[in-house]
Symmetry: C2
Subunit: 269 residues, 2 copies
């Protein structure tokens, strides 16, 4: 999906919501377990109930891999089911030497037809570049993540540049990709950093996890992070997909998604 198409979708839906499909066989409603493929059935009902409220879905690979070959099939079926106009993100956090990253890129962009993959920057240029060679496909590079461990390395000051590592990652990556194929992960748990981040990367889209359970808010993120093209995808996973535990789980998920979408519509400039 191109940047233009993504922005058009955001404007049309008045939403920049990304729904994380962290579908855990141990957490989905029990009545689904009699289905042939409970994971796909759960995703299908979530997608049916929410696709007009969100602009992106983000399956978390760990949850599918944990079920082996069967999980991989549930993922492929989910990808085939998501409407084509919705942006899809493989939350895989891959990154390896060149020929291996190329293999991951082909898997996610060609075989599974995702629009984007999350990539870890630690191994540098040749671990990221192979993902940037596919037209209308995106790298979403980890910059400042939402978890506690983001303090350990991402926040530490670099001697030469006098900036924290996550900023160095952003500066460096801007030599590798453009605003049309590169986004950054910036956690909603660091709202005070958004203004600063916008100085370095005014135009890039940011994928923002950490709203809800982890404590971030749509309002704070949007206030400091929004740019002319909106430039944000705010993710919620557990807060939406596990909003209900009964047979009406999809209705409850819709309510939770609508709540976030309404907050987003109010913030849209």
């Amino acid at each position: 999906m191109t940047r233009k198409e993504l922005i058009a979708q955001i404007r049309a839906k008045r939403s920049f919501l990304c729904i994380g499909l962290d579908t855990d066989i141990n957490r989905i409603p029990k009545h689904l377990l009699s289905h042939d493929d409970p994971i796909f059935e759960f995703n299908k009902q979530i997608i049916d109930a929410t696709h007009d409220l969100c602009v992106a879905y983000k399956p978390n690979l760990a949850f599918y891999e944990s079920l082996g070959a069967k999980g991989w099939e549930s993922l492929a079926k989910t990808m085939a089911y998501i409407p084509k106009e919705i942006f899809t993100i493989a939350d895989a956090k891959r990154g390896d030497i060149g020929n291996t990253s190329k293999m991951y890129a082909k898997t996610f962009f060609e075989t599974l037809d995702f629009d984007a993959v999350t990539v870890a920057p630690y191994m540098g240029i040749d671990s990221v570049a192979p993902f940037l060679e596919f037209p209308a496909k995106w790298v979403i590079l980890l910059a400042l993540t939402s978890n506690k461990g983001s303090q350990d390395f991402q926040m530490t000051q670099q001697a030469e540049e006098g900036i924290p590592l996550y900023e160095k990652v952003k500066r460096k990556a801007q030599e590798w990709g453009s605003t049309a194929n590169l986004m950054y992960v910036v956690g909603a748990t660091h709202p005070e950093k958004f203004a600063e981040i916008r100085r370095i990367a005014p135009e890039h889209f940011l994928l923002v996890p950490g709203v809800g359970a982890q404590g971030g808010t749509v309002e704070a993120v949007t206030q400091f992070g929004q740019n002319e093209d909106v430039g944000l995808l705010i993710n919620s996973s557990r807060g939406i997909i596990y909003a209900g535990q009964g047979e009406d789980f999809a209705t409850q998920a819709r309510k939770a998604a609508l709540n976030l979408q309404t907050q987003m519509a109010e913030q849209l400039s």
Copy 2:
């Protein structure tokens, strides 16, 4: 596998060779393609031909994922086929927020029964710690990788500590794990760094990629990297498994593995 068992295997085989199973459907000999599961058949013949010369096998996840559910089955069959006394490493370079890392850990350590997983450190403690909670299982943390991109972030000086990032990663990780469940990836393409690395981590095992195609040598790595318990696993992937392209590919792989094992035996103290 415990550290003691690993060391005993190294002493018995006079080898610290790890063979990387980067099994690519486009590179394996053509005559295997008529098999029901060509990837597994290739791995089986490589394992039959080399298991007395190496102490570890390291399947690279990218190559299996690229074939979807079918590749995941080939991986599971390969894991079931590797003799139990051989150390197994999932070269997956995972790392995510706590609950996701936990899911990855269960997949690799429980479902697939690997002894170790390679983990990327960028997201810090809670992305690594869940992998350290499994008895007799190992984290192999990326420190200084063998690729060109290792210059981009790993080598850059940290303001507070006055050391490069990869050293900070090692120091920090030593607070999280022990010499019995934590190793580091250090590329053979940086032989001059091994003496320095041994000052910070005298006892830890190091997984060393980059011998062969990428230019590192067994001699240089061993000279600077060996400790009292050997403390090294040197990996070769393409140089062994693709040594031959014909029907005798397994014999050629054995020759290449024997060549490395002989060099290792000479270096053992």
